[in-house]
């Protein structure tokens, strides 16, 4: 009998394991290529049950229509890089999700879907202005189909705010300042991130808009950062930071305010309900004390920030009809999706924006969110979401200006001048 040496055995075993591991990668691909397929690039939803529903829905729709639907989930922050790579090679997904940056930025790479948008608008009472702003490009036509927006309400500890005489939470930013001062003194500060992450640029814009200020006018071109309203908002923000928060907010990321509330120390945060949902699953006792309220109103109005999601069909798609069919079915099933998102997804179509909402209308704590479609706006407000406005957002110009003012590195006039110059320089690039 021939002897197998240890070295030979390791060699054979290693080669066998490598072949077994590589086999599916070599074998399966040609079979994929033969079927009719629609590939979708989507984010990993904040609520896992939504992805479960979405993937299941895609499979069901695919089986019914004899189309293989492949959903690829990646983190939302990485989606722009992925789309950029696919546009460069003119190959990749048939449908791409546009996460926050608007449609204009990718308009050259996306198909005009006005026909589908009209069909859906007619069926469901028309698109909200926010949806039109997000999905229409310069030419005035839809180049993406709006899916949902993420709202920014207030999440507050009812037990703590009752102690300072506001059992329903602070209705205005001024109330937040007054109550926040008292709560900080009691060891329960409020928290709004003031650093390079999504929530910071959303929340501080909400306060600026509520004070009547904006970085740009309705035409999307005239820079309005150097205004009385912006100065008032900056002064208020500084007072809020100094009197009601701790300096830790200067080093926060998107998950920090969730942890802050989950730790039991925080008394109020400005965040989508994902923070509440997470606490609900890990600390029921604490979750019972947390309530949801409208984003506070300011001296001018109640305005908050919407982070939008829409789907575009790429020009290099080989399955445009399949892609359109899938998106139409997705909008038709919006309420099912909203239910799976546990009330996180907010509607873009007027009929869907009328109560009763799935989950939200059934839960007294979440009921205030029924009004969110009315006062949520997105990047570039009161103008359109232009690539210039998006660049100002992406570069954290407003957050950096405010952080320097709050930490006394700049006085008010220096801050306004610094911010205005930065915004003007970015807009000049796109002029």
């Amino acid at each position: 009998m021939s002897q197998v040496s240890r070295r030979q055995f390791i060699g054979i075993a290693g080669a066998g394991a490598a072949a077994a591991t590589a086999f599916p990668h070599v074998w399966i691909r040609p079979a994929w290529a033969q079927s009719k397929e629609v590939r979708v690039l989507a984010w990993s939803h904040f609520v896992p049950s939504y992805d479960k529903w979405f993937d299941g829905f895609a499979e069901q729709w695919g089986t019914k229509n004899n189309v293989r639907v492949i959903i690829d989930h990646i983190p939302h922050l990485q989606i722009p890089a992925k789309i950029a790579a696919e546009v460069a090679t003119q190959s990749g997904h048939d449908i791409v999700q546009l996460v926050g940056s608007g449609t204009e930025k990718w308009s050259d790479a996306l198909l005009d879907v006005q026909d589908l948008a009209d069909k859906l608008g007619k069926k469901y009472g028309g698109w909200t202005p926010l949806a039109e702003n997000y999905s229409k490009v310069k030419s005035g036509t839809f180049h993406s189909i709006p899916d949902f927006f993420i709202d920014f309400p207030g999440l507050y500890r009812k037990d703590l705010w009752t102690e300072v005489g506001m059992p329903n939470g602070p209705d205005s930013w001024d109330d937040l300042h007054k109550g926040g001062m008292k709560l900080k003194a009691k060891g329960s500060p409020i928290g709004i991130g003031l650093a390079h992450h999504d929530d910071s640029r959303a929340s501080w814009r909400a306060i600026m808009w509520s004070h009547g200020g904006a970085e740009v006018a309705k035409d999307g071109k005239t820079i309005t950062y150097n205004s009385k309203e912006v100065r008032e908002a900056l002064k208020f923000n500084k007072a809020l930071f100094k009197d009601c928060m701790t300096p830790e907010v200067l080093a926060w990321d998107d998950s920090s305010n969730n942890r802050f509330l989950a730790s039991g120390r925080g008394s109020w945060i400005h965040n989508p309900i994902s923070a509440y949902r997470t606490i609900e699953s890990s600390n029921k006792e604490l979750a019972d004390k947390i309530y949801v309220q409208l984003s506070p109103k300011g001296p001018a109005a109640r305005r908050s920030f919407a982070n939008c999601r829409a789907y575009g069909i790429t020009k290099f798609s080989k399955s445009v009809d399949g892609a359109k069919g899938f998106l139409e079915a997705l909008v038709d099933n919006y309420r099912e999706g909203a239910k799976a998102s546990t009330g996180y997804n907010m509607p873009f179509l007027k009929n869907y924006a009328k109560p009763p909402f799935p989950i939200i209308s059934e839960d007294p704590k979440l009921k205030p969110l029924e009004q969110d479609a009315e006062y949520h706006f997105t990047t570039g407000y009161p103008g359109p979401l232009t690539p210039a406005a998006d660049e100002v957002y992406q570069q954290f110009v407003l957050v950096d200006a405010l952080a320097q003012f709050c930490t006394d590195k700049m006085d008010l006039e220096q801050t306004v001048k610094w911010g205005e110059e930065k915004i003007k320089a970015i807009h000049a690039k796109f002029a």
Partner: protein, 283 residues
């Protein structure tokens, strides 16, 4: 035993470890943190009123269960290992002859080429992923693990070639010449004389190539989308970081289990690796 003798004994036995302990603390603390976070309940993890370095509530396997049953973690691990092994083989197959040529042969531009080889390693991947996308598409590797097998040598190869050049230079030219006088061709001398002598260098280069590949993120993100084709570093962050919701326990479990193959590779080749590092440092 008197108190004095006991103290002397302790000093003799444990004294040498004293200077080592701050280093060990710094190096091992992240692993300790990963370990306890992987088994802590969320309510315990977010509790700021207790010391965070130990459990207040009973440990849980829920995070590991979520990782193994709720994600494709084992597939990602398998992909990472396969890609790592293939990239190591490709890198060594190409870097060894290149290193030999650059270290041993004198030809026009050899000096510039060896410097350029190392400098190309310094180009950030974020600048390269767009042109490499064209390459991947041209090869027909879009959205498959072969895209990564093709692309990763672009950063492992320059570094490993540069590393191996140092090892080849440590082999006295005379040994190789003697072999050639005895009838070896240059190729035979390379195979029978150089390669056995620089085994520690080959292992070192292999380990570097494996770990660089194993931890890579940006190319994996760009060239792979399908869940079944993701690597461990990419897959874990995709499924366990959802916007502002971080699944800390499962993330730490993933990091801990993911670190095991690298730890095993290091443990089994530690002697060669250390020898390789020190030998490579001297000419």
């Amino acid at each position: 035993m008197t108190r004095q003798r006991l103290w002397r004994r302790i000093r003799q036995d444990y004294g040498p470890y004293l200077p080592l302990s701050p280093y060990l603390f710094v190096v091992l603390f992240p692993f300790y943190w990963m370990l306890i976070t992987a088994f802590k309940r969320d309510s315990d993890l977010y509790n700021l009123t207790t010391a965070p370095f130990w459990f207040k509530e009973p440990p849980t396997l829920a995070h590991v269960k979520l990782l193994l049953e709720g994600t494709l973690f084992l597939t990602w691990l398998q992909n990472s290992l396969l890609i790592g092994v293939l990239v190591v083989l490709i890198t060594l197959a190409l870097a060894l002859p290149a290193a030999y040529a650059l270290a041993r042969m004198r030809f026009w531009g050899s000096q510039t080429l060896s410097t350029g080889m190392f400098l190309s390693y310094l180009i950030p991947p974020t600048l390269l992923f767009l042109p490499l996308s064209q390459l991947v598409r041209g090869l027909g590797f879009t959205d498959s693990i072969w895209a990564l097998v093709a692309v990763y040598p672009s950063f492992t190869l320059p570094f490993c070639t540069w590393l191996l050049m140092g090892f080849v230079r440590t082999v006295p030219r005379e040994i190789e010449e003697s072999a050639q006088i005895d009838g070896c061709t240059r190729l035979q001398a390379f195979r029978m004389i150089i390669l056995p002598v620089i085994v520690p260098g080959i292992i070192t280069a292999g380990i570097f190539a494996f770990t660089l590949t194993y931890q890579e993120y940006i190319y994996a993100l760009t060239f792979v989308s399908a869940s079944a084709n993701k690597t461990i570093s990419y897959g874990v962050t995709t499924d366990l970081v959802r916007g502002d919701v971080f699944y800390w326990g499962s993330l730490m479990s993933g990091a801990l289990i993911g670190a095991l193959p690298v730890a095993i590779v290091y443990a089994f080749s530690l002697d060669h690796f250390i020898h390789g590092l020190t030998a490579g440092a001297l000419k």
